[in-house]
């Protein structure tokens, strides 16, 4: 019989706060993590705002901040999220002699992640220096001269998308299976789902799972603006993320890291740690359609939701709350609504389906895990988080999106949905542990 998989720790560094409790209070108060971009001067970009992590201090989490000092933003954030989660789950960090009862060979890592930002100043200085204005092309000799004199090896290495996992391995001594997945906006839900499968099959007893990502850099913002994926509501950043409204005009680029500790029930019981929730289902699919657009009828989303329900061995009727992908783009919110209707049938309109991205922004590779943490808290407190800024409902979209106010109601089973550019779809279902 496969192991049951439970959540025994959570940690987060995100635009709504740098710990789980602060995040949850902010969500229940309907606060927004969105503001003018400060990471760089974006004042002339089509979008001048984003959802940034604020007041983050690596030194709160590690005795050796130097070891993580060259990190890309995602790796730096994941140190905080992972240490918080490990503290809650009673996993020892930064010691060669852990006394937490977890075999390091059976402690693994699974993170959704992405490439870190280029080392902007030196990189662009080298480009300027290398550009031959007469020939209108790069002179790579001139470029190399500046680049090799000024670029830093470690800051280059830290841009690799597998580095957040490396930082966690060094903090925790984890020698078990360690993976990174790069499935964009769906990555950290995939990470949690796949890590769950690995514990079920017996590959590991404990998995540190989640995501870490920041695309808040000039190239990231330019790319998403060119794709016209971002909101350009520059006169009102805090109401820009308005999923399921008629006036929605794109998502809000966010950043952060979110980590959950997944553990076999056997291990959690043996260690006597508190169980926060159980992961009961996972479904994953591809649209096989277009790289930028979702399939019009939500083919892949439906398949992932259906697979997750089947994996959990439950019916759509058993789901109390859907934490949607809900990005506030014209396309996602329409197609996600269609997909929910296809899967939830007569229950679609009576199953609350909200988007915390209305407050949190879109954490890209970290989004799914951050949102999963809100699902766990929804179960703990029997409160469904709201979709904020739902001021002008889109008449085509007629589900119960939990507009503007959190809702007190019994919550035992939650479906968490994440869909990525490129057509990757991942869905995880969690349940109150009993």
């Amino acid at each position: 019989m496969a192991e049951r998989v439970v959540i025994t720790g959570m940690g987060i560094v995100c635009p709504l706060g740098n710990d789980v409790q602060t995040l949850w209070q902010a969500i229940l108060a309907g606060k927004s993590g969105v503001a003018k971009t400060t990471v760089f001067d974006a004042s002339t970009f089509p979008t001048t705002f984003d959802a940034e992590v604020k007041d983050y201090d690596l030194a709160e989490y590690t005795k050796n901040p130097k070891l993580h000092k060259d990190s890309n933003r995602g790796s730096a954030f994941v140190v905080g999220a992972a240490v918080q989660a490990c503290r809650q789950a009673g996993i020892d960090v930064e010691t060669t002699e852990p006394a937490d009862g977890i075999d390091r060979g059976r402690l693994g890592i699974y993170l959704g992640a992405g490439e870190g930002s280029v080392d902007n100043d030196v990189f662009f200085a080298a480009i300027v220096e290398g550009w031959d204005t007469e020939k209108n092309e790069m002179d790579w000799g001139r470029w190399a001269k500046v680049a090799f004199a000024r670029m830093d090896a470690m800051r280059e290495l830290e841009q690799e998308p597998n580095m957040p996992a490396a930082h966690i391995a060094i903090l925790t001594g984890a020698r078990g299976p360690t993976r990174s997945c790069l499935t964009a906006c769906a990555a950290s839900t995939q990470a949690v789902g796949e890590a769950t499968m690995m514990i079920r099959r017996g590959d590991a007893d404990v998995m540190i799972a989640g995501g870490a990502h920041s695309m808040i850099h000039p190239l990231g913002l330019t790319g998403f603006n060119r794709l016209t994926a971002l909101s350009t509501r520059n006169d009102s950043p805090q109401t820009a993320s308005r999923p399921f409204t008629a006036s929605r005009d794109g998502f809000i680029l966010g950043e952060g890291a979110a980590v959950v500790i997944l553990e076999s029930l056997t291990s959690a019981r043996k260690r006597g740690v508190e169980i926060l929730a159980e992961v009961i289902g996972y479904g994953s699919s591809a649209d096989a359609f277009r790289v930028t657009d979702m399939h019009e009828e939500g083919r892949g989303a439906i398949q992932a939701m259906t697979a997750a329900l089947a994996d959990a061995g439950i019916s759509y009727k058993d789901v109390d709350y859907i934490n949607t992908h809900g990005t506030s783009t014209a396309e996602n919110d329409l197609i996600e609504t269609k997909a929910i209707k296809a899967v939830f049938k007569e229950e679609a309109k009576s199953t609350p389906a909200s988007s915390v991205k209305s407050m949190l922004g879109h954490l890209i590779g970290a989004a799914g895990a951050a949102e999963l943490i809100t699902c766990v808290l929804a179960i703990r407190d029997n409160i469904v988080p709201p979709t904020m800024n739902l001021i002008d409902p889109d008449p085509q979209l007629d589900l119960d999106y939990v507009p503007n106010e959190p809702r007190k109601m019994p919550v035992n089973v939650v479906m968490n949905e994440s869909f990525g550019f490129g057509g990757q779809n991942n869905v995880v279902i969690i349940r109150r542990f009993s």
Binding site: G108, A147, A153, E156, E160, A166, R175
Partner: protein, 215 residues
């Protein structure tokens, strides 16, 4: 490219002789060569393949994964412990012993310190058998194709298995000191029932796969 150069992973001492630049486990190794590729295999449930009447090229029988843990992120642990754990896990999953392996495709980049650590890890994982099993470092010909490298090695191992031949590695004429592996530098006929492919990354993730010839 600049990342590889800054991290001193690519050799710049062989710019006049690029094809002999990548020399895994060789005494004259100076670093690796940067490459690119895509490698894909179709993995399929055996029964499913049989139902479709698909030709089966090999079976994946073991997989292991771990971490190198080294606060100097850009280097392997000198004892290659993370690689050793991955190999041991793969053998355990395949339910075979070291003596059952007939071919090893190592990660073998041509970076002396990393090759040394990998050789130590292979010896630690396989014991006495390590000195006998043919080791074919494909990067001597393919270069280091990054994330594609592991899949390329699996394709190479399956080809070797099905042809009953191990091609010679290039540039591995003079084994590095303290390397006790049986590096293949002459093509040889071989009956390969089990092959082991090893990979590791910057940042420390390690992986080992064991393939079995289909009967």
């Amino acid at each position: 490219m600049i990342r590889q150069c800054l991290l001193k992973r690519t050799t710049s001492e062989n710019n006049d002789a690029p094809t002999s630049a990548c020399r895994p486990f060789d005494a004259d190794a100076k670093g690796s060569v940067f490459g690119e590729a895509a490698g894909l295999v179709i993995l399929e449930d055996l029964d499913h393949a049989a139902r479709r009447g698909a030709k089966v090229y090999a079976e994946v029988v073991g997989f292991g994964q771990s971490n190198n843990i080294n606060p100097a992120y850009e280097h392997l642990e000198p004892d290659g412990k993370g690689i050793r754990i991955a190999i041991e896990k793969a053998l355990a999953e395949a339910r075979i012993g070291p003596e059952d392996l007939d071919l090893i495709i190592p990660h073998g980049t041509g970076i002396p310190a990393d090759d040394r650590a990998e050789a130590v890890a292979i010896e630690a994982a396989l014991g006495e058998a390590a000195a006998k099993i043919p080791v074919w470092p494909t990067k001597s010909m393919l270069s280091n194709t990054g994330a594609a490298a592991g899949a390329l090695d699996v394709v190479a191992a399956v080809c070797a298995m099905n042809d009953g031949k191990i091609p010679a590695a290039k540039n591995c004429d003079r084994k590095a000191e303290a390397c006790n592996l049986n590096i293949v530098n002459q093509p040889q006929e071989a009956n390969i029932r089990h092959a082991l492919c090893c990979s590791y990354s910057y940042g420390g993730q390690t992986a080992a796969v064991i393939l079995r010839k289909t009967d």
